[in-house]
Amino acid sequence: MTDIPTVAPQLYLQSRSRWRPIEIVFWLATLLPFWLFPDYLSLASQIAVASLFALSLDLILGYAGVVSLGHAAFFGLGAYTAGLFSIYVWGEVFTGLIAGAAVAALVGYASSFIISRFRHLTLIMITLGLGLLLHEAANSAGWLTGGSDGLQGIEVWKVAGLFSFDLYGVTAYSYTLGVLFVVFLAARRLINSPFGLALRGIRENFVRMPAIGADSNSHIRKVYTISAALAGVAGALIAQTTQTVSLEALSFERSADVLVMLVLGGAGRLYGGLIGAAVFMIARDQFSGIAPQYWYFWIGILLVVVVMLLPNGILGGLSKIFARWSRR
């Protein structure tokens, strides 16, 4: 009977979402900085935030094929919302996160009606334009955002009423890592869901989707909203852990950086954004130590080399090497 594969179809699809040992190793490794690099915990917490931001971009770019050059809009919205929330409402962090996510999701949902109707270059320009728009709006609304001075006076309570944010970043890293892990679990679930399959369908063949009865636009609106919410969480985290928000949170540079991180790590792989963010942030930290003004030069070289040699990013390259090695 050649028609019967070795594994039943349902079990086969189930097995694809099973946790692999390498994933467990990865998450255990994220705990290493507590012991190995106790002086770098604030960097580690920035990496966790950048990872979360890159993960949010991966959902739209890596899975639905929606390219954005303005994703910082939602990061900034989350950051300012969480900052203002702590000033005007209270300093409790988890409700602050939810507020940041909610505002970013709301704006994401509103703009998704425009986003879902366009593709490719038009889409890049629209997202870029919306990002710039929001940046200028925040700049001119100085009474609310502090303008170019940044938002001052953010005070957050102890996390869960127990852990205050300390100078070494132990709490900051624990907190950001914890949030990253929870969001990652949710994203992982989404990717292995029927919705996640539809997103991959959109990425693989946009033209075929309507021919199987799919309303791609509604899928794109939904994932764009989710992605905006997650970017908002990342922004809220940066506001809470650094206790300041600057216009940089909404800048084009931040949108470009997160795209670079994702491409470096490998888009459409869930871990690509995480690996890319770590490589990018560590490289930036090291390069700026060598030459403070020229570190983008080295990032540029890194990006060109990775894209030329590893079209699917660092993770894509690694999995190829691993596949070749295990076939032997």
Binding site: D3, P194, L197, A198
Partner: protein
């Protein structure tokens, strides 16, 4: 858009798919000219005509991938002219593509499961594992086995042999549970000795499924079609049973003429 509640009296429910006065032009080039067709339920119709006759264009118009300049399309008697392609698919109008239009990075099981899930309306669920939808997966697998794709359904689509990919085109369309299936050269590019296999699959489809297929190989057309529509220059040149078409001197001329110049 609300499809007409009352079926058009000239179309009737006995026809699975009908068109009236369907026209489309790009600038001065007319690609569809006043096309009026009826496909009765369960029909096995072939759509033939020389290159550039507008066969694929007609399928694009019927499925909504192109908007007509004028005219109407009826599905089971209901006017669907204003509906988007995916809405027509949900009402039972499916198609395949002449050039493989597949999900290269998905395997056949994932692709067909996706189509089944879309039909069942569960693809919005981002909180549950795909494997929860056991019925959908098994339905997808049954379709794949029926089309002899069961043994390679875990392989990425891009790695499948070309002939298998042509079958996957049909599998994806069948997953939408169509009432009407439009096949755009289902065996295009397949070596002649294998094209028979593909048409055996087509012939084995359920009797209440209404079929319209575009095909150039006249042996295949005369073997599988109960009725033939000849399209020339975007207009219906003639139509009839295979015997009538074979005896039609006009058709012969169109084909021989086209061949002489082409």
């Amino acid at each position: 858009m609300n499809a007409a509640a009352n079926p058009n009296p000239t179309v009737g429910r006995q026809n699975a798919l009908s068109t009236r006065g369907l026209s489309k032009s790009f600038g001065s080039l007319t690609v569809a000219n006043d096309i009026a067709l009826n496909l009765p339920v369960g029909a096995r119709y072939a759509l033939i005509g020389p290159n550039g006759a507008g066969k694929t264009t007609l399928i694009n118009l019927m499925t909504g991938m192109l908007a007509p300049n004028s005219g109407q399309i009826f599905l089971g008697g209901d006017d669907v002219t204003a509906l988007a392609p995916q809405q027509r698919v949900r009402r039972g109008l499916a198609r395949t593509f002449q050039i493989n239009t597949l999900f290269a990075g998905l395997n056949a099981l994932e692709a067909v499961t996706l189509a089944v899930c879309e039909r069942r309306g569960v693809t919005g669920r981002f909180w549950q594992n795909i494997a929860v939808n056991k019925d959908a997966i098994e339905e997808a697998y049954e379709i794949l086995v029926k089309l002899k794709l069961g043994d390679c359904c875990y392989q990425p689509t891009r790695e499948l042999p070309y002939g298998r990919q042509r079958l996957l085109e049909i599998a994806l369309a069948l997953a939408t549970k169509p009432k009407v299936l439009l096949l755009d050269e289902p065996a295009a590019g397949v070596p002649q000795e294998e094209s028979g296999d593909i048409f055996e699959v087509v012939a084995g489809l359920s009797d209440d499924l209404t079929l319209l297929f575009i095909e150039h190989d006249m042996h295949v057309v005369f073997r599988f079609a109960t009725h033939i529509i000849v399209l020339v220059g975007g207009a219906v040149f003639t139509q009839g049973t295979p015997a009538e078409i074979a005896a039609d001197p006009g058709v012969r001329e169109v084909y021989l003429g086209a061949r002489k110049h082409g």
